[in-house]
Amino acid sequence: MLIPLVLVGAALFALGLIGFVTRRNLIIIFLCTELMFQGIVLNLAAFGRYPLSGSPTLDGQAFAIFLLAIAASEAALGLALVVLLYRYRGTLDANAYKVLKDS
């Protein structure tokens, strides 16, 4: 069961990466980082449940819970930044923010 689950986790991560690179809506870009987190959660839990050596441990699930805390923090900060940028420019287009210089 380990290998299929790890494969699915890798596929989720790759899909999230593609979305992160190609989408232009700032909110969807942040949603794609959450997609990558989902793949990682799956991987961590799978490696904890079906370890390569020894018996199953709870370390994978513990790591995944810390990852949930990180993801929640990232979502809160990222969305706060998105709201601020939207109030600043009035658009969610990532291309509108490609000039980083203060005008």
Binding site: M1, L5, L7, E34, L35, V41, S55, F66, A71
Partner: protein, 260 residues
């Protein structure tokens, strides 16, 4: 290995075609055909993988995996942000099902509560706050460099999947020395074969599957003993993130208003 390569190629082409691209509507028939082919190959690979014992849970796992990947593709390709967020909820539910199959009950419920309940509600609030225009915006219907993005992403997936598959199937990577032993170990380490006494003796271990043997209590003990300091640090991190989010979102724009 051939099937895996084919799956990655077909998936890449399908995702590239499904990417939102301006006014030209994607050919739905070709897309459906590609999705069907990719799904069939995925199911074939997942069922035939020789990793460990084929348990009764294997069909459920394959179905949930296919659902999760379908939802993930729709998250990436849907041109309406609200639907992307809703497909993400579907992905979280499928993922929670996969975690349940791994006897990670607390993690599964936590995932549904935190992701589907809290984070996605925040996302949908922000989408409603920021998307005041009726109809689709141009930056939603047009993706940026879809060909290069899909190529890079699926190249990464091909490398990862090839490595994982090579570790699972001995001999599929001829010149790699890591194939055999790793696969043998992975098969050996199936918890169904491990002695029950060793599992139950340690608070660190999962209990033997069965009714009434949830892992929440063990996980809580594990978190508050082995990872005590990390738990406290996670609390500090969440507090800092909350304060930071409030500070960022409450900032007055009058001082930094653009000239326009």
């Amino acid at each position: 290995m051939l099937l895996l390569t084919l799956l990655v190629v077909v998936g890449g082409i399908g995702l590239y075609m499904a990417m939102p691209r301006g006014r030209t509507a994607p050919a739905r028939g070709v897309l459906a055909l590609l999705a069907l082919a990719a799904g069939a190959m995925l199911v074939a690979i997942l069922i035939n993988l020789p990793s460990g014992i084929v348990t009764p849970a294997r069909p459920t796992m394959v179905a949930l995996s296919a659902l999760a990947l379908l939802a993930a593709v729709r998250v990436v390709t849907h041109s309406r942000p609200v639907y992307s967020a809703l497909y993400f909820v579907l992905l979280v539910l499928a993922n929670a099902g996969l975690l349940l199959l791994m006897q990670a009950e607390f993690l599964a419920t936590g995932l549904v509560i935190i992701y589907a309940g809290a984070i996605l509600v925040t996302y949908i609030f922000v989408i409603m706050l920021a998307q005041q225009t009726t109809g689709k915006a141009a930056y939603d219907t047009e993706s940026r460099e879809p060909l290069l993005g899909c190529f890079a992403g699926f190249l990464l997936l091909a490398v990862l999947a090839g490595g994982i598959y090579g570790a699972a199937v001995p001999g599929s990577l001829e010149r790699s020395g890591t194939g055999g032993p790793l696969a043998a170990e992975a098969i050996d380490a199936q918890p169904d074969l491990a002695p029950t006494a060793a599992l139950l003796s340690d608070v660190n271990r999962l209990s033997e599957p069965g009714p009434g043997h949830g892992t929440t209590e063990r996980l809580g003990t594990h978190l508050l003993t082995s990872y005590f300091l990390a738990m406290e640090l996670a609390g500090v991190l969440l507090l800092a993130a909350m304060v930071g989010a409030i500070a960022i979102a409450r900032r007055q724009l009058s001082a930094m208003e653009p000239a326009a």
